[in-house]
Symmetry: C2
Subunit: 211 residues, 2 copies
């Protein structure tokens, strides 16, 4: 009996290392799929349409909203970001655990629409580590770093609404913990309805035969 | 920062192999504690008071009910079974994951009183396997086996109210799965409130310093 995969919503402050951890997770384990989001923002160098994002026009995005083709969507820095339903559903049905990497606002919207989605927040070992990582990248101006830290402080308020946290100290270790956490969800009663039903019916049948 | 342990409520049909799986779990992993139940039933050969159960009189048990000293209690085949609060709480506080092995009725009462308790139901790979295991013991009369199967059929209706299921095909494998499932609960937001609070406050402080 094939177990339906879990919808995993992963969030975390900019600079916490989500990308590196997910790369490690996908390299070392099978059965995972990324959710590919739709967005109206322009592709960054190296980003491929249909792989990193579905890059769409504002008009097309608003049509997707109107047609209820999105699991969630949010507007961030003047651009739309959203999760196309059909893609996620087909992957879950095929037994994949689908990872959705989105902002707090989107994550909480998902939880309302899909109550059995698992919300995981990736935290740094400490706030100082986060600042050091943002500074250490060497790619951001002090002003951008300050804004990211401000945004992190704002976002942090929402962490308690998540189901789980993982702490990213070492990316490979964090990926292993994330994997254990996600695979444990396969045991959820809600993911095993068909099996439970079978046991219930067979017990009833065997009991009657015994009379 | 010490993480408070999880309260794990484990149930399963008579004959499913809970005892063997828990023995394997406790032998191969640290950080677990059994909850010791109070009961009014007589000790079976080899059962030690304070280890397997606290064996108490009916009068003492009813006093414990009156004093609200129990997390839950239930009556089964004319005997009381209950979970003393103080013992469980001290073990959780010490960071142990506490395993409570109780009937469906008691488990659902616990969930009402302790919403962050984790309810796990151990199932056989199939209903036929359960019957074969009960028969294979060679210690029960056909009449007892029939009654156990009937009771299993009744209990099975409650499985959907549990959080998770584990399937006991091989006891050692089941113990490993159970361990992963229980240890994953350490990542729950509710078990990490102090850490989350610390990150939130430090981010706020660092952001202010940056101004």
């Amino acid at each position: 009996m094939k177990t339906r995969g879990s919808l995993i919503v992963l969030s975390g402050f900019a600079g916490v290392g989500k990308g590196t951890v997910l790369k490690s997770l996908f390299e070392t384990h099978e059965g995972y799929a990324y959710s590919v989001s739709a967005t109206t923002r322009s592709p960054r160098p190296g980003e491929v349409d249909g792989v990193h994002y579905f890059f769409v026009s504002k008009e097309r995005f608003e049509q997707m909203i109107a047609n209820d083709e999105l699991l969630e969507y949010a507007c961030y820095v003047d651009n739309y970001y959203g999760t196309p339903k059909a893609y996620v559903d087909s992957k879950l049905e095929d037994g994949f655990d689908v990872i959705l990497e989105i902002e707090v606002q989107g994550a909480l919207n998902i939880k309302k629409k899909v109550p059995d989605a698992i919300l995981i927040y990736m935290l740094p070992p400490s706030a100082v580590t986060l600042r050091d990582r943002l500074t250490g990248r060497g790619t951001e101006t002090p002003d951008v770093i300050r804004k990211r830290m401000e945004r992190a402080a704002e976002e942090a308020v929402g962490v308690e609404q998540y189901d789980y946290i993982v702490v990213n100290d070492d990316a490979d270790e964090c990926a292993q913990e994330l994997n254990s956490l996600i695979r444990a969800q396969r045991h959820r009663t809600g993911s095993n309805k068909a099996f439970i039903r079978m046991i219930q019916e067979d017990l009833k049948r065997l009991t009657k035969e015994g009379d």
